[in-house]
């Protein structure tokens, strides 16, 4: 059994996390009398996870370099306010209401603003040598305060229609046909990636997985993609919305009702896209290699000629960019910008990364693990809401789970040493 698992070359920690996630899902489903594992609940779960998952990708790299970023929630709040004011007040005056370019300008502004804040904090950390804990603790207070100052605490609403799609909801889902198309492209990409990796290894005469293992990995990966899309497509639009859609397109409504699937939500696609891009960045680029080398031994990285300061500053800049993207997602989902948006998010983001196997000692962590960690956290929270657990109790459970998960990971790591 272990030999077969090894032949698959799957990270055992990832398998463990998937197992934990499955246990949580099944547990909540049983406790809630089958209300958890419904397409509707899973779809909402995916949308609620998106913003934390996006930020967790950046937090992995930060923690890998032996740093921390406590400011992400506050940066999200501040950038969210900027984006809200920009599209609800400034752009309508300049371009007119619901101008097609509004959402693009808003998203670009969020990315630039978030990135600039991140680079600035990163410069203080990398070049002035101020500990990241202090810089970002200061940042937490500064940006949270700045979020209030943007409108003197007023909530800004509503958001631009096209921008709102970033938050999910009925308009923010891409529909079943497009979702299937994405599933097909995804499966093709998985197969191609596996094939090229195999060819490359063969060319250099390195060992490759046995054919059965390769096929199993391909089947499991593609199965996961198809399964996720099938679930999203099985969550149907409310009958009245479906009827309105049918009328608008001049379609007849069949007997027994009209079933139009939501398909994947836009924020989920954004999160998956970010996750893939960040995985490539972390595993397949020089920048990612330097990030991990710095985490393993900062002095060695410097002596090897790596520009450790610039790399560190870029890591924080990247974190800022991801905060900007997350700010768009959460502002769009709320359809409003409030100065309290993202409060406590820094803790959830750090927890997601750590539950996902990122070591606070540095040098160790994966993007996929962190995104799974975000999903685990959100599953716990949604599940408890479903069961009617009150908010203080939810916090207690999440806190306990965090400590427990890290303990399990520590024990596991001691075991493989």
């Amino acid at each position: 059994m272990t030999r077969q698992l090894r032949a698959l070359e799957i990270d055992p920690r990832l398998v463990g996390m998937l197992g934990a996630l499955a246990a949580i899902w099944i547990g909540f489903d049983l406790l809630s009398g089958g209300a958890f594992l419904t397409p509707r609940n899973l779809w909402n779960l995916s949308v609620q996870t998106a913003s934390i998952a996006v930020m967790a990708c950046g937090m992995v790299l930060i923690i890998v370099t032996r740093n921390i970023d406590l400011s992400v929630g506050a940066v999200l709040g501040f950038v969210g306010m900027l984006v809200g004011v920009l599209q609800a007040r400034l752009l309508p005056e300049l371009l007119g209401l619901e101008h097609p370019a509004t959402w693009l300008i808003a998203v670009a502004a969020a990315i630039v603003a978030g990135g600039a804040i991140g680079l600035f904090q990163g410069a203080l950390i990398a070049y002035l040598g101020i500990p990241s804990f202090i810089v970002t603790l200061g940042g937490l207070l500064v940006w949270r305060g700045a979020a209030w100052w943007v409108t003197q605490g007023q909530t800004v609403a509503p958001m631009d229609g096209a921008f709102r799609k970033l938050g999910g909801g009925i308009e923010g889902a891409i529909g079943a046909p497009l979702s299937w198309a994405i599933a097909a492209v995804g499966c093709a990409a998985i197969l191609a990636a596996l094939w090229f990796a195999r060819q490359r290894k063969l060319r250099f005469g390195f060992a490759v997985r046995p054919a059965w293992a390769e096929a199993t990995v391909a089947l499991l990966s593609c199965g996961a993609v198809v399964g996720a899309v099938a679930v999203a497509n099985a969550y149907y639009l409310p009958p009245r919305v479906a009827e309105r859609l049918a009328q608008a397109q001049g379609l007849a409504i069949p007997e027994g009702g009209l079933f139009i699937g939501h398909g994947l939500a836009v924020p989920v696609l954004v999160a998956i896209g970010v996750g893939l891009a960040m995985t490539v960045l972390a595993m397949r680029t020089r920048f990612g290699r330097y990030v991990f080398a710095i985490g393993g031994n900062p002095e060695a990285a410097e002596l090897s000629g790596v520009n450790t300061r610039r790399t560190l500053m870029k890591v924080f800049g990247l974190m800022g960019v991801l905060c900007g993207i997350a700010a768009c997602i959460s502002t769009a989902r709320l359809n409003a910008a409030t100065n309290a948006a993202g409060t406590l998010d820094e803790l959830y983001v750090i927890a997601a990364a750590v539950i996902g196997g990122t070591s606070l000692a540095g040098g160790l962590g994966t993007i996929a693990g962190a995104m799974l960690g975000a999903l685990v956290m959100q599953s716990l929270q949604s599940g408890m809401v479903l069961l009617g657990v009150d908010a203080p109790m939810q916090n207690i459970v999440v806190g306990l789970v965090l400590v427990f998960a890290v303990w399990v990971d520590t024990v596991y790591r001691r075991g493989i040493r």
Binding site: V280, G296, G305, N307
Partner: protein
């Protein structure tokens, strides 16, 4: 005599109040092995770390092939063809041998992504020369033995066509067979015209491999000698007592009663 490959003149550096290196001058010619000797804490590692760009000197001058060199970072040193095997090895423990060998100089594919297969293949070739028994290419170097880690550090220094090689106790953790292999490697690199600074506490190794020895004591240079002109006992006297024998050129650190 030809222009030296490297000249370090009157180099000084202090940490806090301690003068770790104090007015030391050494030089190195192409195809030459110069051994740096001295007791623990004499300042050998600190001196060569100035040459490798790890520390900026407080005073003094470095010339490479006769021209003043500005070495402010390890990257600068590498552009002069200076490669270093550090006493601490300076390996990133959490990545594999190939990642360490190529750290800072990765091979990339057409699309600019890391070409791990190519790097591993190259690493296997260099390691075959250094340590033919080395097999653990997939593991993070944390999982390797001290000697295996040292082999990785050596592989990193010799892979990139060094012109000037600094070896700070390169065989400290190696077994007899591997030590012999490194000795042969030193002679081969020397034949190729590479200049080598070798730091070692093994006086027999030094006499086998080096052309000249420079001895440091308490941060100062006791003297420099050709190995033919001095005996092992005289060199030990330089290291322990700071006494400069007649066959050596005395430095500022030579004891007065010599």
């Amino acid at each position: 005599m030809s222009v030296p490959l490297v000249e370090m003149r009157d180099i000084s550096i202090a940490f806090g109040g301690i003068k770790a290196v104090d007015g030391v001058s050494v030089d190195l010619h192409a195809g030459e092995v110069v051994a740096l000797l001295g007791h623990n804490g004499a300042g050998k590692s600190t001196l060569i770390k100035i040459l490798s760009g790890a520390y900026p000197a407080d005073a003094g001058e470095i010339r490479v092939r006769g021209a003043a060199a500005r070495i402010a970072s390890p990257r600068d040193a590498k552009t002069y063809g200076i490669e270093t095997i550090y006493q601490t090895l300076a390996l990133a423990d959490n990545v594999d041998a190939a990642a360490n060998v190529f750290l800072g100089r990765e091979i990339v594919t057409r699309w600019g992504t890391l070409d791990d297969a190519a790097m591993e293949s190259q690493t296997r070739q260099v390691m075959a020369r250094l340590n033919p028994h080395f097999r653990r290419f997939k593991e993070p170097v944390r999982a390797l033995s001290g000697g295996q880690r040292q082999s990785v550090a050596i592989a990193r220094a010799i892979y990139f066509d060094a012109k000037i090689l600094i070896m700070d106790e390169p065989t400290a953790a190696l077994g007899p067979a591997e030590t012999k292999q490194v000795g042969e490697l030193v002679l081969e690199l020397k034949r190729q015209g590479i200049g080598i600074f070798l730091i070692s506490h093994d006086i027999h190794d030094v006499f086998d491999l080096a052309d000249r020895v420079s001895v440091m004591k308490n941060g100062r240079l006791v003297g420099t000698a050709r190995v033919e002109d001095v005996t092992k006992d005289e060199v030990l006297g330089m290291i322990i007592l700071g006494k400069c024998p007649p066959g050596a050129v005395p430095g500022p650190g030579a004891s007065a009663d010599a």
